[in-house]
Every structure is written in C-alpha cells, then in structure tokens.
C-alpha cells in the first residue's frame, strides 16, 4: 500500500488515481472532522470538497519532512476556523443532523422509563454540549487527538503551535469538560 506522502507526490505529477485513493482513504475522517466542528451537514460537505481541492492544488508544495496528516489537518483546521468566523451556529444543529443520520434520540416514551441506553445517550449529549462550549482551538485539539488520533507533534504542526502548548490545551480542555459535566459523570461512573 502506498504511503500518503507518495500518493501526494504522484498527485502533484498529475496522477488522478493517486488522488482518488487519498480521497477514499481520508474522506470519512475529514468529513467527520468537519461534521463535529461545524456541525452542519451541508457545510461539512462543502468544506470537505474545498479541503481536497486545496490539497490537490497544494500537492506540489508538500514537503515529505512534515507528516501528511499534519499537512492535511492544518488545511482542515484553517478552513473550519475561517468558516466558523463567517457564520453563527444554531445549537440544535448537531442533534437534528444526528437524527437525520439514523442516530435517533430516544422517544418520549423511553424518556419516561429511563434505561442504560438512554442514560448513555444523555451523557453523550452532555459531552457534546460541553465540547461545544470550548474555544474553537480546544475543540480542534480534542478532535485531532481523541477523534483522529494524531500525535502531539502532528497536532502541534497542524495547529501551528508548540508541543507543550498542545499538551496544555488538552489538559485545560479536559478540565473544562469535567467542570461542565461533573454531575453526569458522577452518575455514570458512580463517583
């Protein structure tokens, strides 16, 4: 299997098949990243398209010394930040769209008779709300680390920060989430 860096080099040389492999390999991760950060399905699709177009155009400028994931998520983070500066997000978007995708919330009948699944879903909902209250940089750092599983070094390169700054952001983000969620977590872990 060809490495991403090699595929991007081939893309720069005009190999459209190489580019297609990149899109198929990273499309879901990138689309999920945008869905979680911008929360709108349409905007996430537009940003995904824009990201891969930018990646295609900037392929000749890619230097393999930098990790491919850092290169790609740097573009993604900039696009998401720029997009969010332009718009204001309705807080209900996330839940509306989760329902559209088949992750329906429990109906009223189930709410009246809570069970384990309902509790788990409610905790997840509180977690999403807590995430949304974080500064954008912190949300991106959390998503890159926990969601996309990038290393601290890759996140630092993607966000244009030092590794120690990334460490610090992640600790503060987690402390803030816990402070938002503590009652729910107390319940779910029996603390």
């Amino acid at each position: 299997m060809l490495e991403d860096a090699e595929l991007l080099r081939l893309t720069a040389a005009g190999d459209e098949d190489a580019f297609r492999i990149i899109v198929e390999r990273h499309g879901t991760a990138i689309y999920t990243f945008f869905r979680r950060i911008v929360r709108s399905k349409e905007d996430a699709e537009d940003l995904t398209q824009e990201l891969f177009t930018t990646l295609f155009r900037s392929a000749p400028r890619y230097r393999p010394e930098a990790p491919f994931s850092a290169f790609m998520y740097r573009i993604a983070s900039n696009l998401a930040a720029s997009h969010l500066r332009k718009i204001s997000i309705r807080s209900s978007d996330s839940l509306d769209e989760l329902a559209e995708e088949g992750h329906e919330l429990e109906n009223r009948k189930q709410e009246e008779r809570p069970d384990g699944a309902y509790e788990a879903r409610e905790t997840l909902k509180r977690y999403e709300e807590a995430l949304r209250k974080l500064p954008l940089d912190w949300q991106i750092a959390m998503e890159l680390r926990v969601g996309r599983e990038l290393s601290y070094r890759e996140i630092a390169e993607a966000m244009g920060k030092s590794v120690s700054a990334v460490e610090s952001i992640l600790v503060r983000a987690r402390e803030r989430i816990i402070s938002f969620m503590e009652p729910g977590l107390d319940h779910s872990i029996g603390g």
Binding site: E16, F56, L124, V146, R174, I178
Partner: protein
C-alpha cells in the same frame, strides 16, 4: 509532584504520550491523592465518550464530485500551461519582429539623417565669410552712402 503536574501527566497518559519515568511518578502520586485518582477516572470516561461519537461516512457522490473537480482543475492547469506557452511564443515572435523592423528603419532613416547632418553642417559653415573680413561690408555701404551724398 503537585496536583497540577499530576493532571498534566494524566492527560498525557490518556493520550499514550507518557514516558515510563513519568508513569512511575504519576502512579506514586495518584495512589495517595483521591482528587487525582478521580480526575484520571473522569478523563478515561470522557475519552470513551469522545470515541463513542458517531463517525460520518463520506457519500460516494461526494467522492466523485471531488475527483471530477480535480480532473477539471488538472485540465485547466494543462490548458493554462499551453496557453502560457503560446503567449510566450507570441511575445518572443513580436520581439524578434520588432528588432528586425527596428533594424530596417534604423538603416534607412539613419543614413538619411547622416546625409542631412552633413548638408546642414555645410550650410552652417561660416567659411564663406572669410572673403568678407570684418568691416568690409559696412565699408562698402559707407562708401556707397558717401557717393550718394556726393550726387546730391
């Protein structure tokens, strides 16, 4: 180790970025600190929550749309490369043509110019005045004036 440092290490531990020496120091602290022990449990919980969030598979139509757009850009890129080449060739041809025309014009009109310059030099030469030294012309006039006066 204080609790602030311990929390940083717990966060690194969750992210699998902890060195073995840091892990030993963390374990020693957590064993005796209930607050950090709970913090570690919370962090494990929220990491699980984050990982339980749904992934969103990209639609095949979107993949096609992205790759089609890339093909289009590739085509535009090639066309613009050919276009740039054509413009450069046309500019070079105009430049060479300009040089040729300039050369012809220079040869034709510069020779005429030099002829004109030579002629002009001749016209402007005052050598012919050598035949009339200073005072000779006024002397003639004075002489003719006196002759006229004498007639009167």
């Amino acid at each position: 180790m204080d609790c602030n440092e311990s929390r940083k290490l717990v966060s690194k531990e969750i992210d699998v970025e902890l060195s073995s020496s840091e892990k030993e120091r963390l374990e020693a602290h957590v064993a005796s600190c209930k607050s950090c022990f709970m913090f570690r449990k919370y962090l494990q919980e929220i990491s699980l929550l984050h990982r339980s969030m749904p992934e969103f598979p990209i639609r095949e139509e979107l993949v096609l749309s992205i790759t089609d757009r890339a093909s289009l850009l590739q085509g535009i890129g090639q066309r613009s490369w050919l276009g740039k080449l054509a413009v450069s060739a046309a500019a070079a041809a105009i430049f060479v043509l300009g040089l040729l025309i300039g050369n012809i014009v220079r040869e034709r009109y510069m020779s005429a110019y030099f002829l004109a310059q030579t002629h002009s030099s001749e016209m402007e030469s005052l050598e012919y005045l050598d035949e009339f030294p200073p005072g000779s012309i006024s002397g003639l006039f004075l002489a003719s004036g006196n002759e006229g006066g004498a007639m009167e």
